[in-house]
Structures are given as structure tokens and as C-alpha cells.
């Protein structure tokens, strides 16, 4: 009990010291330097910079950003008990504005019990089935996206920093391999667009570096919030390849590798894109 009280006091002090909403320094979206020496990019640029003014404005104000409909729903779910254990997220994790700070910046992350890395969405479902004894949420369900966006938004502005060493190494290498392997009828890899040709138009659309620091993202095309795996699938369909499944080991590895490519970019979730 004493320990809990102490922890509570620390959290309280932390809350007082911090602003209510995580601020995003939009200057950093224009480009940051990689830390890793073997990084393929000289300057890491957010997808925000490749969009036009009108699309950027939808993200700039939290009220104008339609993704906040889901974030609000996620906030409500955070303290709503579900499942046979009668627990909510808040029962274990307390106030998300402190306990979830920085979490998104470090995902996908190694999970010792599972013996593999997990994405934030997988971690949410793991908590639901293991601790709450509740049903899993569907990958693209409004509940899952809302929770993922609510948790991710607590890290907004914090630099992306995923661990890729130790047990993560084979997963990182696998992700890198997928990134550079040409697939599909168009015989293209991720790198052909997002490393070799970013900043150029593909028909009327400007190619970005394919950074994922803003996911879950509200896409105008989708007219809703969506996961990064959904976005990966879209890219693969466009090059006429058979997409991997959402939540597959392949996409987890790719998410890890692409997150590494976006190192030091501030977490931007929930972003707005075209």
C-alpha cells in the first residue's frame, strides 16, 4: 500500500509539472537527423511535409482533426471495465496521461512471455485476453483504433526510438529484407518509392518517405482512422502483390523496421493524411 501511495505521489507531481496535452513541435516534422550510422536517409522527414496546406491544417488543430472522435472514444474505453475479470485498462495502468507517456515511441517492442515483438495493438489485445479475460478487438475495429490512438497520443512529440538489438535483431533483419524485396506484378519494393523517389510525383500524388510516426492515421481516402498494417496492405495491393495479413509476423517485422527508419521523428499520432 505504501508503495502505491508513493507511486501515486510521484505521478501527481509529474502531472503538475507537465502540460495537459503533449505538444508537437512541427519544425521537427520538416526533418531530423538519424542517430544510427548505417541509416539509409540523411534527413528523416514526416509525411506531413509532403502534404498540401489544406491537409496539414486538418491535423494542426486537435478539434479540426477528425481522428479525435476516436481518441475521445478511446479515452472513455480506458476506464470502462470489460471481460470476466471486471477490469478496465485504468485498473492496472492508472492515468493514461502519465502511464502511457512514451509507450508508442518504443513500439513494436520485445515481449518476453510471447518470445517475439509485439505492436501496440497486439499488446492491447494481450491485456484484454490475459488480464481482463475479455474478447480480442478486431484489428481495424473502432474500439481498437480508438484505444491505439488514445495511447499513442500520450507520446505525441516524443522521438521515435525502437530497440532493434538483441532478440529483436532477426525481426529487424526480416523487416529490412521485406522493405527491399521487389514483389508483385509491378516488381517493386518499398524502397523504390519511399527511399529512391520521395518528393517526386507518382501521377498526381507526391511520394513521401513512408514514415509511420503518425499512425493510427485519419486518411481522407478512408474517411476514418486506420492502422499502419492497413496502409501497408494498400501499398502492396497497388504494386499488384498479395498483401500480408494485418498482425502477421511479416507486418510486425516491417513495422519495426519502418519505425526504425523514422527514428527521432516526433510521434505525431493521430496524423491526418490524404
Amino acid at each position: 500500500m505504501k508503495k502505491i501511495l508513493t507511486a501515486g505521489a510521484v505521478i501527481l507531481m509529474a502531472t503538475l509539472a507537465m502540460p495537459a496535452h503533449a505538444e508537437l513541435d512541427t519544425d521537427k516534422l520538416k526533418g531530423v537527423k538519424p542517430t544510427a550510422e548505417n541509416h539509409p536517409l540523411e534527413k528523416i522527414i514526416s509525411g506531413y511535409e509532403f502534404r498540401n496546406k489544406e491537409t496539414q491544417m486538418l491535423q494542426d488543430d486537435d478539434f479540426d482533426n477528425p481522428a479525435y472522435i476516436w481518441v475521445d472514444a478511446g479515452e472513455e474505453l480506458w476506464s470502462t471495465a470489460d471481460g470476466a475479470a471486471g477490469k478496465s485498462c485504468a485498473d492496472c495502468h492508472g492515468d493514461a496521461t502519465t502511464s502511457m507517456k512514451g509507450v508508442k515511441a518504443s513500439y513494436p517492442k520485445w515481449n518476453e512471455a510471447k518470445g517475439k515483438p509485439m505492436t501496440l495493438q497486439q499488446q492491447v489485445n494481450d491485456c484484454r485476453t490475459e488480464r481482463m479475460q475479455a474478447d480480442e478487438w478486431g484489428w481495424e475495429s473502432d474500439e481498437m483504433l480508438g484505444m491505439a490512438a488514445y495511447v499513442a497520443s500520450q507520446s505525441r512529440g516524443m522521438p521515435v526510438a525502437v530497440k532493434t538489438d538483441g532478440q529483436m535483431t532477426p525481426w529487424f533483419e526480416k523487416g529490412k529484407d521485406i522493405y527491399y524485396t521487389r514483389v508483385g506484378q509491378l516488381d517493386m519494393s518499398c524502397a523504390n518509392c519511399h527511399e529512391d523517389n520521395y518528393g517526386k510525383n507518382i501521377r498526381a500524388d507526391m511520394l513521401s518517405q513512408g514514415q509511420i510516426n503518425g499512425f493510427p492515421t485519419y486518411r481522407l481516402k478512408w474517411q476514418k482512422l486506420g492502422s499502419v498494417h492497413r496502409r501497408f496492405k494498400g501499398c502492396m495491393k497497388n504494386i499488384r502483390a498479395k498483401p500480408f495479413d494485418v498482425g502477421s509476423d511479416e507486418f510486425v517485422a516491417l513495422e519495426l523496421y519502418v519505425a526504425w527508419r523514422g527514428q527521432n521523428l516526433p510521434v505525431e499520432s493521430p496524423a491526418v493524411r490524404q
Partner: protein
């Protein structure tokens, strides 16, 4: 989202005669009735067809909405503050549902 949820951004306090900006957003798919589903049949229209903003029972601003308004309809408009009172914002769905949210304004 299964159930539509409104969001409203309105000042809590203002001065008399000031022109304030009000923003509203509601989660809604705004199914146009012009799209075909996977079975090849038209997906029936279901939209928010009417929005009304009132202050102390008097209409500030209203919109008759057609299917060409985007999903999760967003509206931004103004009001010249006549005094303290209460806002009532109402959205009407094609299925007959009515979503209402209220907000108070103080003079300060």
C-alpha cells in the same frame, strides 16, 4: 463508429457583443446512397440531414445537409453574444435518431 458522437468547441465565457467562433463535429459515415456494396447493390443512403445551433431557444445557424458533405461532418460558424445562456446543438439522422448536446456560456 457504431453510435454517433458529437464534439463541440465553444468558449465558456465571452463578452456581450463579441462574435465568437463555434466548431462542431459528429462521427457519422454519411453513406451517400450512390455507392454500390460488394454484392453489386446500392448501399442505402444514411446521412445526417440537418444540423441546428440554438442559443436560448433562438436559432443561430442551421444547415440542410446533402450527401455531398464529408463523413464525420464538420461545421464552423459564428455567434454575436447577446448575453449569458445555453447552446443547444442538434443533428438529425436519416434513420430518425436525433443527437443533441448542450453547452453553457457565461459573461465575463
Amino acid at each position: 463508429m457504431a453510435k454517433s458522437k458529437p464534439r463541440v468547441k465553444v468558449p465558456k465565457t465571452a463578452t456581450v457583443g463579441e462574435v465568437i467562433t463555434i466548431k462542431t463535429l459528429i462521427s457519422h459515415k454519411m453513406e451517400s446512397g450512390l455507392r454500390k456494396g460488394k454484392d453489386g447493390n446500392l448501399i442505402p443512403r444514411q446521412i445526417i440531414n440537418k444540423f441546428t445551433a440554438e442559443f436560448e431557444g433562438q436559432q443561430i445557424f442551421a444547415v440542410d445537409i446533402d450527401p455531398a458533405i464529408s463523413a464525420n461532418p464538420f461545421l464552423e460558424f459564428t455567434m454575436k453574444v447577446p448575453g449569458p445562456g445555453e447552446f443547444t446543438f442538434t443533428w438529425v439522422d436519416d434513420d430518425g435518431s436525433v443527437y443533441t448536446t448542450k453547452s453553457k456560456l457565461k459573461i465575463g
